[in-house]
């Protein structure tokens, strides 16, 4: 079974969000272990750029494995403040430690949005 940490929030598109989702706060975003397992070994991540405006549910990058490619959605609206450049050389971090070294980008949130809690996400992937 894939791990679903209790202290994170989740989108139905299999992103996790760490931090307070409220205007002005910066949150960290990655994809869940469930999503990483379904993709297989990630070999390439197309990251958004710092300063990009993103909207919740909008495509802001791509995650490519040998078997498949998946679009990367922003789970929140706001402005990209950082991207995990280390993924360019070590995209496998998304598989190896999806909730830590495999983080993908940080967003300064511009508006409230309701996300799934761990229990709701666990039900979503059950």
């Amino acid at each position: 079974m894939s791990s679903v940490p209790a202290d994170l929030l989740y989108s139905a598109e299999h992103e996790w969000v760490s931090g307070d989702v409220e205007p002005g706060s910066v949150v960290t975003v990655g994809i869940t272990e469930h999503a990483a397992k379904a993709l297989g070994d990630v070999v390439f991540v197309e990251l958004p750029s710092v300063g990009d405006k993103v909207s919740a549910g909008q495509v802001c990058g791509e995650i490519e494995s040998s078997k498949a490619v998946s679009e990367l959605y922003s789970p929140v609206s706001g402005t990209i403040t950082a991207v995990n450049e280390a993924l360019s050389d070590e995209p496998a971090a998304i598989n190896d430690e999806p909730y830590e070294g495999g983080w993908i980008f940080k967003v300064e949130v511009s508006e409230d949005i309701e996300l799934l809690d761990a229990d709701a996400y666990a039900d979503h992937i059950a």
């Binding site: 397992k37 297989g40 390439f44 197309e46 490519e64 078997k67 490619v69 598989n95």
Partner: protein
């Protein structure tokens, strides 16, 4: 949903399972890339029990198969195998096959999982006038592949008897061996990875024992169990076509650059043994008789030769198979359009980031004007074009 006789082994190994042609099969265990690399550097173990097997037996077996497929089968020596195709009368590919000659009157045909029903029906129909029985034996055989540079050491060590025979096998030959634990196996030096390797035909009852023997013998050599995902990237790097992607009813062997499978010349043929039981080839070379699709394929050959000589003469919808290597990171995937100067010239049939070459690779069916090695094409990768260069196939060849 059919389960492999090795289903419980896959679950115990933590495999991610997928549905493939009506079978539930492992897509990966530890990870696609690690599995892919294990095959390139050491060895990989694949459950390919989903592959279809069809037995063709009877006094006319060789003649019946010779009539049914595009390669000469009467000329195939006992102990050899042949990559071939079953084509329609129009030359379209029904399936690509490996045919193993077990005896003068006994062949085993290995077909793609999705096609085994069609191939069985088609062969039965074509073999009707002959003294031969065609039988789908897929569920009576478990097929396991051990592939990679260490495969020969591993399979030899798995043998109780016949290890020397296994080591001496040439590509596309087979022998029988007694594996440790008194398991009888047909061991063929065939595969679908571009590496040296073997395919083991065993009964479903023995499948688990053979799988575990392969793991315990192979793991010290670096063997990993491998899923369908690694199998797909391995065959793509090796430039091997996959039915449903590169091959279909609307392509001929010539479209795929595999015209060599069509055999029309004369050859010495095996004759049925006399009362003394001795099997021998004829002294004289015998002209190959008519076979299904022969006329259409002769015409297809002429057409493709003409396109090769003058690509611009080919009609708008003419297609030939090429390899593509990406200039950037985003990979082409099946179905993506291939463009030259904003004109659509073809479509990607397979594509992935190559785990060995670390660049995107793809196969595509394109117009003959775009086939020359070095031609730069654009592939529409989800709305953004990526430049790719036409490249010789295969992308990867093992050191020999």
């Amino acid at each position: 949903m059919t389960r492999s006789p090795l289903h419980d082994e896959h679950v115990a190994l933590g495999a991610t399972l997928t549905q493939f042609a009506g079978w539930q099969m492992p897509v990966r265990y530890a990870g696609d890339v690690a599995e892919h690399r294990a095959v390139r550097t050491a060895a990989g173990l694949f459950d390919i029990s989903h592959m279809g097997q069809i037995a063709v037996r009877g006094a006319d077996a060789a003649a019946a198969l010779d009539f049914s497929v595009v390669s000469g089968m009467a000329r195939l020596a006992i102990g050899r195998a042949k990559y071939t195709m079953l084509c329609t009368a129009d030359g379209g590919i029904v399936d690509d096959l490996i045919v193993y000659r077990r005896d003068w009157d006994h062949f085993i045909v290995v077909a793609n999982a999705a096609n085994v029903g069609t191939v069985t029906e088609e062969l039965s129909e074509r073999c009707e006038p002959f003294d031969v029985a065609v039988e789908n034996i897929t569920h009576e055989v478990s097929l396991q592949a051990i592939q990679g540079p260490k495969a020969v050491d591993i399979v030899t060590e798995m043998c109780e008897l016949g290890g020397d025979d296994v080591r001496a096998l040439k590509n596309y030959t087979w022998c029988t061996a007694l594996l440790r634990g008194d398991v009888h196996a047909m061991v063929a030096r065939t595969g679908y990875t571009g590496e040296d390797g073997f395919e083991l035909f065993v009964t479903p009852q023995d499948a688990v024992e053979v799988w575990r023997l392969a793991l315990t013998t192979g793991v010290p050599y670096g063997l990993m169990p491998c899923g369908l995902s690694a199998r797909d990237t391995l065959r793509l790097e090796a430039g091997m076509p996959l039915y449903g992607q590169e091959l279909s009813l609307s392509t001929t062997p010539y479209t795929a650059g595999l015209g060599w499978v069509v055999q029309t010349g004369a050859a010495k043929e095996l004759v049925r043994p006399g009362l003394n039981g001795a099997v021998a080839f004829t002294d004289e070379r015998i002209e190959r008789g008519d076979f299904v699709g022969s006329q259409a394929l002769a015409a297809a050959k002429e057409t493709h030769d003409a396109w090769a000589a003058d690509p611009a003469s080919a009609p708008h919808d003419a297609r030939v198979l090429v390899g593509l290597v990406g200039q950037a990171r985003r990979a082409a995937r099946p179905g993506y359009a291939v463009m030259v100067n904003d004109v659509e010239v073809g479509v990607v049939t397979s594509g992935a980031p190559s785990p060995t070459l670390l660049v995107p690779v793809a196969m595509a069916l394109v117009h003959p004007t775009a086939r020359a090695v070095g031609t730069v094409v654009q592939v529409d990768v989800r709305g953004r074009r990526e430049s790719m260069t036409v490249s010789a196939l295969p992308f990867y060849s093992r050191a020999s």
